[in-house]
Amino acid sequence: MANNEHTITIDGTEIHFKAGQTIMDAALSAKIYIPHLCHYPGLTPSGNCRLCVVELNGKDVTACTTQAQPGQQIRNQTPELNAARMAITQMLFVEGNHICPSCEKSGNCKLQAMGYYLGMRDEHYPQFNPRREMDASHPAVLLDRSRCILCDLCVRASREIDGKNVFAIAGRGIHAHLIVNTVSGKLGDSDIAVDDVAANICPVGAILIKEKGYVAPIGRRIYDQHMISDVAFDEHVPEHKEHGND
């Protein structure tokens, strides 16, 4: 290619980017997959899951939070990075309670799909078996904190897209947990609605729409048919809703 004024190179492939794009944005537009769980195009990046760490000119950076700059040389698919991604995915598994065979999200779950993508066959680390509160108080939306991976997507989606402020993360260290922004702390007292982005964006089975479980039969669910690395390119949150749902 002629000049690298607006290009970066990922694993030897030179791609174009638009000013203001992050490395993740640029990669996704060019259909290059960089593993990620806490990022969703259209939301402010957070950088908490650490799966998208890439080597940028020899330094480790999260692709979702780093601006693309002309001429950057990036390494993404390396054995070390993928080994670390697998270890981080395993950490997310053991930290929560993930019993896939009994989970409504199974087959459509990104944590699971990340495991498939990385070839994860066991959880490797000892399980934490945390006891986390389930919240079934809302008529249409269920919150099962056991499966929450603290990706913060619901928090950001509610604030940035739904124009509400339903969720927050509280607690410190391994005690971090999702809370609901109501006096009772219950989802039933919040103004979340079934078609809010926040109610539908959870990558795992922590926020579920009630009475919708197991709709697609095994074999027909998203990640039965596709790799997460193929599905990722079509994702974008809807435009900001002015006043949520009335």
């Binding site: 908490n48 999260t62 934490f128 603290l150 509280a170 410190r172 809370i179 006096v183």
Partner: protein, 588 residues
């Protein structure tokens, strides 16, 4: 009457959500859901923000603590394990209370907290937030008697609560005396850029650990565009084994505030904050008095020293038990009334800091050095130290030595020199820079304290011949697991996993395979975490494994694999419920 400190803190408690929550915690001994709703209303915050703040900081509790609430420091230097004696266990026994659980009658609760910065005073506790140091067997007995008699703290012997400034060696900065305002006066006759040039020329680098050029930082901030600029002093001093900022705050508060004002003059700030760790709340009255005096002398406030347009106010914000708030972006979050979660950098605070505006964050010692550089010139400062590390470093020396305390040396001093001065013989290892720093074995005691070699925020922990270094590693690992903010996966989960793995080694159940695992896990946490806490959290393990591998090997079993869990212990609950104790009710 603009130039009065009281105007700037009409109601200290209403000035910051952390202060308001502290007040509630102090009077109601916990923070109830109702209180959170109330505070959310008062501060125009969402209830979830208040709830996340309450659950982030260690000094806030959801359930009532005791009328006497004891928090033992669990640091290797000022912790509750004194030789063979476990002071925490002892007081629990004497007062019939279980750690972490408020006694049935609501009078007592006993728990642990990270290093309280009293390492020069031996075993220490905070009792209802007040430091009580020099604990020993006898004092613990006395304390438990007073608690049993329900004697109010005000009637306890005052000398128990005395905190001393154990300065053992005065160097460049500590031997300076400052006539309040004398440095500022000198500064005001020159243009800000000229002062800045002196600071740059002095080679002063940050004393908080990272060692960023102070002049360069101020220049960046001065050059950044913004609606306002802020000066923040980082007095969060949370690295276990560090207490020099405490001593500086006790003795050199004037020089500190003067340094902040000089910085304000240079960068064009109108407002400054001193972020004081919650453990040092006992210094609040003293610091406020110094501020009052400085306002009275027109060294703060409007038109400082009659210089029209030079207005600068300082407020104190007191933290509530979170080591991560020493990280500058987390500190700023905390200043803004949020949980202390480190932010994505860049942008750095110098361009996007407090309230999104250009902000200088410096350590206590850094500001004090700036004050004296402004007064004595950069040549004075550069006359000491090394090429990359000009001036002096104030160390907090503690652990296995005869004379713990604060020692100031020119940069470049060797570890051995410090050990000789503080009366430390038969030293096995020294931890430079606290748990996040570097473990140095005896063969390397000729190494020097400097940014070129071993940089440190000031913590200098000494481990003598008889010290079990593995238990030191375990202590450090627990510290990081407790202080991880929980934002990112590798540190949130990894620090807990490391603690468990070290425990397996301590228990003598680990195999060579486990050592391999712990190395990999350490490397992962170090490389993939979001902030400095995670980046450094496993250093002590990697250092130890490299330098003291035989100590690990000694604890290993010769088996090729051992269970993650103690299987026999895993049967205990069922044994108890069935009353069985036959051979089949046990496992090897």
């Amino acid at each position: 009457m603009m130039n009065q400190y009281s105007n700037h803190c009409v109601d200290f408690n209403a000035s910051h959500v952390l202060h308001r929550l502290y007040e509630i915690q102090h009077t109601e001994r916990h923070i109830s859901a109702e209180s959170m709703t109330l505070v959310a209303d008062e501060f125009k915050m969402s209830v979830s923000q208040v709830a996340s703040v309450v659950s982030f900081y260690s000094f806030f509790y959801l359930e009532p603590v005791g009328r006497y609430h004891i928090q033992f420091s669990n640091c290797t230097s000022c912790g509750y394990q004194v030789g063979q004696l476990n002071l925490l266990e002892k007081i629990c026994r004497l007062l019939s209370v279980v750690t972490g659980k408020t006694r049935e009658d609501g009078w007592v609760s006993v728990g642990e907290t990270s290093c309280t910065g009293m390492c020069d005073h031996g075993a220490s506790m905070l009792i209802n937030g007040m430091p009580l140091a020099r604990l020993d067997d006898e004092r613990i007995t006395q304390i438990s008697c007073l608690i049993s008699e329900q004697k109010p703290l005000e009637q306890w012997p005052v000398e128990w609560f005395r905190v001393e400034s154990s300065i053992q060696k005065h160097g460049l900065l500590l031997s300076e005396t400052l006539q309040p305002g004398s440095s500022l006066k000198k500064v005001l006759v020159s243009a800000p850029q000229q002062i800045l040039n002196h600071i740059i020329d002095s080679g002063l680098r940050g004393r908080g650990g990272a060692g960023f050029g102070t002049g360069k930082k101020w220049q960046f901030c001065r050059d950044a565009t913004g609606e306002a600029r802020y000066v923040v002093c980082n007095a969060d001093e949370g690295e276990p084994g560090t207490f020099k900022d405490r001593v500086l705050l006790e003795n050199n508060a004037d020089a500190l505030f003067e340094g902040m004002a000089i910085c304000a003059y240079v960068i064009g700030a109108k407002k400054g904050y001193l972020y004081l760790r919650g453990e040092y709340r006992y210094l609040l009255g003293h610091l406020q008095n110094v501020l009052k005096r400085r306002y009275a002398k027109n060294l703060l406030g409007q038109s400082i020293l009659e210089q029209a347009g030079f207005d600068f106010d300082i407020e104190i914000v007191v933290g509530a038990g979170a080591y991560i708030c020493g990280e500058e972006s987390a500190l700023i979050e905390s200043l803004e009334g949020k949980p202390g979660i480190p932010q994505i950098r860049p942008p750095f605070p110098v361009t996007h800091g407090y309230l999104g505006q250009p902000t200088v964050v410096n350590n206590v010692e850094t500001f004090i050095a700036a004050t004296h550089i402004a007064k004595n010139g950069s040549g004075w400062f550069k006359s000491m130290g090394t090429k990359e590390s000009t001036g002096s470093k104030i160390l907090s020396v503690s652990g296995d030595c005869r004379i713990p305390g604060v020692y100031e040396y020119p940069y470049g001093v060797s570890i051995q020199q410090v050990l000789d001065d503080c009366g430390a013989d038969n030293v096995q290892a020294v931890q430079i820079g606290g748990p996040a720093g570097t473990m140095v074995a005896r063969k390397d005691f000729s190494r020097q304290i400097s940014f070129e070699d071993l940089s440190t925020g000031g913590s200098f922990l000494i481990f003598g011949e008889n010290c079990d270094l593995l238990s030191v590693n375990q202590n450090f690992a627990r510290f990081f697991a407790h202080e991880s903010c929980g934002f990112c996966t590798p540190c949130r989960v990894g620090t807990s996993l490391l603690t468990n793995s070290l425990q397996k080694i301590m228990d003598g159940r680990a195999t060579p395979l486990d050592i391999h695992e712990i190395k990999q896990l350490s490397a992962l946490v170090k490389r993939y975490s979001h902030c400095g806490l995670g980046h450094t959290a496993a250093n002590h393990i990697l250092d130890s494994l490299q330098q003291f591998s035989e100590r690990f090997e000694k604890r290993l079993t010769q088996k090729t694999f051992t269970p993650q869990i103690d299987l026999d212990a895993a049967l205990a609950a069922a044994r108890k419920m069935t009353g069985r104790d036959d051979a089949d009710a046990h496992l090897e």
